[in-house]
Amino acid sequence: MLQFLLRRLTGAVVIMFLIGAFTFFLFYTIPQDFAELACGKNCSPQSIAVIRENLGLDKPITTQFWEFMGGILTGRDFATGHCPAPCLGVSFETSEFVWASIIDRFPLTLSLTVGGLVIFLVLGLGSGLLAAWKRGTWVDKLVSSTSMVLSSFQIYFLGPIVLGIFVYSTGWLENPKYVPFTENPAAWALGLLIPWAVMATIFTAQYTRMARSTMIEQLQEEHVRTARAKGMKQGYVFFRYAWRGSLTPIVTILGMDLSGLLAGAVVTEFTFDLAGIGRLAVNSSLSKDLPLTMGVMLFGAFFILILNIIVDLAYAYIDPRVRLA
């Protein structure tokens, strides 16, 4: 177990370094002077030279790369002050420390993810299990057809419709906004209610379909039929035998969805004008803000790698046949 963890964590560090290096050098293949991008209205060659010096762009590319990577471990000094480790540099666009920008945006992304996750797991798995339990009945047909329709929806389509009805037309709800949970839990929940509901609608439908199909599959497995043949209670067989077996594919998909959401729910954030990691990622990329793009990518990669490891650990827990080595 420990050996597995060490090996995977070492691999994760190497992968993150490679992602950082790839992103950094890929940026420099663009025929673009980053100082020009940061230059405003009064953009003379002298202004560009000043910006180049201020941003450290006058140094060789390899020096810039090692300074960036070194800053993650030791921190760096900039004209705007000391950037403590893990320092991901200073944004060309806002002159803000990248790490500070990410940390500032993360609570919203985390809130979106956690709130949405609770809703779509409870509703999605619940209705999937119900449909599987009542297979062939009107309940199954209703759940299956509803989830079929909803899973074909997209956030950018459903979001504006929900806003149009509940905010712009009736005024029953306010426009979505983020209030920190620690500041006002009720306002936090109310502000994110619409994004959660819309996000969860689409994810719920997907998880309903997945839970139903895997449960039906599991209910036909030999060990489940054996349990039934032994005269075990229906509910016990359903949850103790079939449910556990159906969890593996669900956990796999959940891990991927979760890492994707934590790395930035781009469409949700843009649809509801929220400022999370997803918006930061898109804007940094559009404005060719190298340090910010690298920072956001590394941050996203971190979650993907960590959740992959957690999912692998979960496999071993769910399915005793899996051994970590």
């Binding site: 230059c39 806002t94 712009y168």
Partner: protein, 598 residues
């Protein structure tokens, strides 16, 4: 001043002074029809008068009360992206320029009456300035009682510091005017480290004989100094509060509001500055308790929220963004929404600049100018609420603007005169299939306009190579002297209501250089000489001279085809009072805002 300059989604307009026309904030259309209320050049012309320089009486606070104004509440500001800067020295664009009026104060400011007439008043100075030695020397005396947000009194040393720090590398984005006038175009060499290493400009350039007096000494007369000093870029940065590069994120306020919280790219909260004394300020008010800026609301969402006018949106305003072009009809057709709109000109004149190093034959330039389908170009930018046919290169927001001036007959043939153009090309001996490279920005509007321009040029028989340039560096690319393009669209507007801030930077041959804004590389001796002369004249006399120069540029040289004068339409929530179009900023006037039900 150019729109959409370097940063993504940054709307660039003037820092302080912009339009010079008064257009009423609220529409009178209550019938729900969609007739053209986009304001006409006639409206504009009636307001394009030279700015008046005020004495002490007009400069003394408090500002006149706004009828019906109430105190309290918070205004929600909807913006698509963050402020470009908050350090006054770096501010040269409209988003930050608007903000500067709430946070910062300079020696002078623009005061605007109900009809949109502009007067330059003393802001922290007692008046708009006292000229001597034929306008080469300007003396300012500071008002009593002006303090920063920390309660420190502002002295002449702070003003000196604010000017001198603009010579240092800390500042790279602000206006260059006053420094250049004091120390020449290569002004940074005069004080490379600014004031930060104990050195100062000599008293022969900038003197502060006592704590209350500041004296500017120029080599040439600078009649526009009071207007230049009203730019946000020349607001005061108190010496003790200056944190150099860090100041851009946490400036110290002298104005009626100060920053309570700032999250770059996300939000900004302003609260009342208790050390601002209304008796020292003849322009600003402090009716609302504060402003909450949301910096992530795109233009379409802003428009939807304000049209719906529900909840928080009732207390909301647009800052420098506009009604989304796809929703203009929704605004105009609904009387209750339309009456909350603010319509007006922006100071830009969009033009098709010819690279004179490549397009040397005036007949060819004239032909393209005649053929230019200006109306179709406007259609790509919001239609009649987004722009208006341009006859010349001086916009309706400038003193001396003549709405009937139309040497290329664009008003009669708004979609171009191809027959006339072909005739001129024939005379010039231009062969079918002659190659032309047209550069355009990657901004959506420019991409749409490219199709129009390319179509027009192809109809004239040119083989057109359309070259897209990243919007973030578009002006840097076309500003290069050896750029490989034949023609490109560019927009320019004034920094204050004087042609000196348009004709000089864009058409003065003496200023041709890499990165400069003379995009056509026009270098005409008569024009250059006329500019030198006009720059030394008082505003009223100068306006006449600028008109002469303008005519020569358009008719005798034609370095750029006039296409359209830009316009804008903004919305506010129903609970926001004191709303009107600002002649000074070309946007909503933020000085008089209040909440009807706080």
């Amino acid at each position: 001043m150019k729109p959409l300059r370097s940063r993504s989604a940054r709307v660039i307009v003037v820092a302080a002074a912009a339009g010079s026309l008064a257009l009423t904030g609220c529409s009178k259309n209550e019938t729900g029809n969609t007739k053209d209320e986009s304001k006409s050049q006639k409206d504009a012309a009636s307001q394009s008068k030279p700015v008046v320089y005020a004495k002490a009486a007009e400069s003394t606070g408090p500002a006149a009360e706004v009828p019906g104004a109430k105190s309290g509440g918070t205004i929600n500001v909807l913006m698509e992206s963050d402020m470009s800067h908050m350090d006054p020295g770096q501010i040269y664009v409209s988003d930050a320029g608007q903000l500067a009026n709430l946070l910062h104060r300079g020696l002078t400011n623009f005061q605007e009456d109900d009809k949109g007439n502009l007067t330059v008043v003393g802001d922290i100075a007692t008046d708009s300035g006292t000229p001597s030695e034929g306008g080469k020397v300007w003396t300012y005396t500071l008002k009593d009682g002006v303090k920063d947000q920390n309660g420190n009194a502002i002295t002449s040393a702070d003003v000196r510091h604010s000017i001198e720090r603009m010579y240092s590398k800390v500042i790279f984005d602000g206006p260059p005017y006053v420094q250049s006038w004091l120390s020449g175009d290569d002004y940074r060499k005069a004080l490379p480290d600014g004031p930060y290493k104990g050195k100062h400009l000599p008293d022969s350039v900038l003197a502060t004989p006592d704590a209350k007096t500041v004296v500017f000494k120029f080599k040439k007369a600078q009649p526009d100094l009071p207007q230049a000093l009203a730019m946000a870029g020349y607001s005061v940065v108190p010496e003790k509060a200056d944190t150099k590069a860090k100041y851009d994120k946490a400036p110290v306020a002298l104005g009626p509001y100060k920053i309570a919280e700032y999250k770059p790219g996300k939000s900004l909260k302003l609260v009342k500055n208790t050390n601002w004394d209304p008796k020292t300020d003849s322009v600003r008010h402090q009716y609302v308790d504060g402003y909450d800026f949301s910096l992530t609301i795109d233009q379409a969402s802003q428009s939807k929220r304000l049209i719906a006018d529900q909840g928080d949106a009732k207390n909301a305003i647009q800052w420098t963004d506009q009604v989304d072009p796809t929703m203009i009809k929704d605004v105009i057709s609904k009387p209750d929404v339309n009456k909350r709109s603010i319509k007006g000109y922006q100071p830009y004149v969009w033009q098709l600049s010819f690279n004179l190093d490549k397009m040397k034959d005036k007949k060819v330039r004239d032909a393209i100018t005649h053929a230019m389908p200006s109306q179709r170009m406007i259609a790509q930018d919001g239609g009649k609420y987004g722009g208006e046919l341009a006859g010349g290169l001086m916009g309706p927001t400038l003193p001396g603007f003549d709405p009937s001036y139309d040497p290329f007959g664009k008003l009669k043939k708004p979609n171009g005169d191809l027959a006339k153009a072909k005739e001129l090309l024939k005379e010039a001996g231009v062969k079918e299939g002659t190659k032309l490279t047209y550069a355009y920005s990657s901004a959506p509007r420019s991409q749409k306009q490219m199709v129009v321009v390319r179509g027009m040029l192809e109809k004239l028989g040119f083989d057109v190579q359309a070259k897209e340039i990243d919007r973030a560096t578009y002006y840097q690319q076309i500003g290069k002297l050896d750029n490989p393009f034949d023609l490109y669209m560019s927009g320019w507007g004034q920094d204050w209501p004087s042609p000196s801030t348009v004709i000089t930077p864009v058409y003065d041959g003496d200023l041709i250089s890499d990165g400069a804004s003379n995009y056509s590389h026009i270098n005409d001796e008569q024009v250059n000489k006329g500019i030198d002369e006009a720059l030394t004249l008082e505003p009223a006399a100068a306006a006449k001279k600028w008109t002469e120069i303008h005519k020569r540029i358009v008719e005798e040289i034609n370095p750029a085809a006039p296409v359209y004068y830009s316009k804008q339409i903004q919305l506010t929530g129903s609970n926001v009072g004191g709303v009107k179009y600002s002649v000074e900023s070309s946007y909503i006037d933020i000085n008089d805002l209040f909440l009807k039900n706080p």
